[in-house]
């Protein structure tokens, strides 16, 4: 049976030995998968995306620092509003995703390939809207309702961190991992999201007496930026080794 099928795979009219001359359709499908994987690997520019995200995260720190409205009360308690972060990230997010899409397409074109950035751009656009919308919703709610006396539940903090820019960066990296079929990026993103959502206090800072409020907010951002930067270097080194 296989031999009969194999006869069909003799090149018709011209010689062609670029794919292994096996008649087995299973082998042909496997070869097609290999070619697809090679193309996807050649389209990858993971390190560039991570580098842009790291740069945007570092650039946000002074905006948050100087744009933060802090009011300390005589009883020692302080209220703060991170307006600078809002004003920075709303224009920074679309610019950041546009820059990544542009660099991806340019690199792919230089390698003789097209790029698939549309789903990524759509996700970038959606996440850009989610952050200010969530901020607006929370601000509007608490302007009409009293702030609760009891500590807010843990899930609230996780949700709050997810809709913040650093959580949205994680969601976008998930989409990028799916687009690139990039298991290494997926593993990194899962670790990144765990760090941002469960470990680092992105929304209330390190509230130790050692830190001022501004510094307490800057440290988690600095950690996220360093993690993204190190990942960018790691993916670049891995990409160079592969080539």
């Amino acid at each position: 049976m296989l031999a009969q099928i194999g006869l069909l795979w003799k090149p018709i009219g011209m010689t062609a030995n670029s794919l292994p001359a096996a008649g087995d359709p299973r082998r042909l499908l496997s070869d097609m998968r290999t070619l697809s994987q090679r193309v996807r690997a050649d389209q990858r520019m993971t390190w560039v995306a991570l580098l842009v995200l790291a740069a945007a995260t570092f650039a946000a720190i002074p905006f948050d620092w100087f744009g933060m409205d802090v009011t300390c009360l005589p009883d020692g308690g302080c209220q703060f509003a991170r307006d600078g972060m809002l004003y920075y990230w709303i224009p920074a997010m679309p610019l950041m995703y546009a820059a990544i899409a542009f660099l991806y397409l340019r690199a792919a074109r230089a390698r003789g390939l097209g790029g698939r950035v549309l789903p990524y751009a759509i996700t970038g656009a959606v996440t850009t809207l989610v952050f200010p919308a969530a901020w607006l919703a929370v601000t509007t709610y608490f302007s009409n309702h009293p702030y609760p006396d009891q500590p807010l539940p843990y899930w609230w903090f996780v949700l709050d961190r997810l809709v913040m820019p650093w959580g949205m960066i994680g969601v976008t990296l998930l989409v990028l991992a799916w687009l690139e079929r990039n298991v290494a990026l997926l593993a990194f993103t899962v670790g990144y999201l765990a760090l941002v959502l469960l470990v680092l206090p992105m929304n209330y800072g390190f509230s130790s007496g050692f830190f001022s409020i501004r510094a307490a907010m800057a440290v988690p951002q600095l950690i996220v930026g360093v993690v993204l930067l190190l990942a960018a270097f790691g993916f670049r080194a891995a990409g160079r080794r592969r080539r």
Binding site: M1, N17, S18, L19, P25, L35, V39, L113, G114
Partner: protein
């Protein structure tokens, strides 16, 4: 499109009877696969990936273009001429059908062996 048929026609249509001669060829299948994955691919990339001579690749591209499965766009980047290949909707359909038939063949072989 031409169908490649076996010596004997079985009563039920065998997946082989539906194979398209234009697509069912290793190099052309490789071209369609790469182009589908890349959305748009340059002649030089195809040549290096499929390890073909320029003349041989051109012949295969002509066959696919005449069948309406790919589009060929020639242009310049600086002084350098570049040829870009894209898959037409018919090309996408033909590739998907070919993959489907190959899977049917595998299922047929496994059933026969079992």
């Amino acid at each position: 499109m031409t169908a490649v048929t076996g010596a004997e026609e079985p009563e039920l249509a065998h997946p082989v009877t539906g194979l398209d001669e234009v697509v069912h060829q290793r190099v052309r299948l490789g071209i369609l696969t790469i182009t589908h994955e890349a959305r748009r691919v340059e002649f030089g990339y195809l040549r290096s990936q499929l390890e073909l001579t320029a003349g041989n690749l051109s012949k295969h591209l002509s066959v696919l273009e005449e069948a309406g499965l790919i589009g060929v766009e020639k242009g310049y980047e600086g002084r350098r001429g570049r040829t870009w290949i894209t898959l037409t909707p018919a090309g996408v359909t033909a590739l998907n059908e070919e993959i489907g038939r190959l899977k049917q063949l595998i299922a047929r072989v496994e059933t026969t062996d079992g």
